[in-house]
Assembly symmetry: C2
Homo-oligomer: 110 residues x 2
DNA sequence: CCCTCATATGCACAAATGTGCAAATGCGCT
DNA sequence: AGCGCATTTGCACATTTGTGCATATGAGGG
């Protein structure tokens, strides 16, 4: 069983591979961006803090679905909430998420 | 049925939301990055062109699985292949994928 | 206390996804 | 042609995911 790449390269590659925890975190994060509904929500929240009702009305998605996806986005630390009386306002937790979207747009040349 | 955000903001948000085709492309792209195995493969290929056998051996993943995931990555235009006799070498099609991973790493503060 | 509105949760279900075995294909060699 | 190796493909299966209805929770106002 011969190696096809040379041993030095192999060692370099092996050391470059991130730890499993890192890979897992990355995959989970990208997974949170990998749905049309959630991408929509992120884009909307990048413009303005908003409540669930407005979000679902403006994006034309079911309120329940919106709520479910917001929960996922919150679990992924992409979105945060703030309560004001009856209303819960959602917004981006960290503006770096926009850099990620931009990088995606760049890659796809959109 | 009253709006909770003012109409100007609402209009701005509505115009900011990317077209459906764009959202779909973005989601599909991130979906390609949203799996541990594929993330691993991308990281490895960022270091060096490699064939399936080496990839699966070094990353310690089943060769068949590796092949399946490479097909997905190829469909997502993340990876390209080059044949040399019996061997097929895989490499990143576009180095901008690294910027995306970096943005993810930045976001997660890894 | 009851009504209304904003939001979340439980549940069910269809659809998509990741994995690996078994078998097929492709290619060079003799 | 026949063999061996590299890679892909077909198939099956368990698991996860996205969605929305029905229902619950939570908060303010009369």
């Amino acid at each position: 069983m011969e190696n096809l790449i040379d041993n030095d390269t192999e060692q370099t590659v092996i050391h470059y591979i991130p730890r499993n925890a890192t890979l897992h975190a990355l995959a989970e994060f990208f997974s949170a961006c990998s749905d049309v509904t959630r991408a929509k929500i992120i884009c909307a929240l990048a413009m303005s803090e908003m409540c669930v009702t407005d979000l679902s009305r403006i994006l034309e998605i079911n309120q329940t679905t919106c709520s479910h996806q917001l929960r996922l986005l919150r679990a992924a630390d992409i979105v945060k909430q703030r309560r004001d009386g009856k209303i819960i306002y959602y917004s981006l937790k960290n503006r770096k998420i926009e850099d990620v979207l931009m990088a995606g747009v760049e890659f796809l040349d959109l």
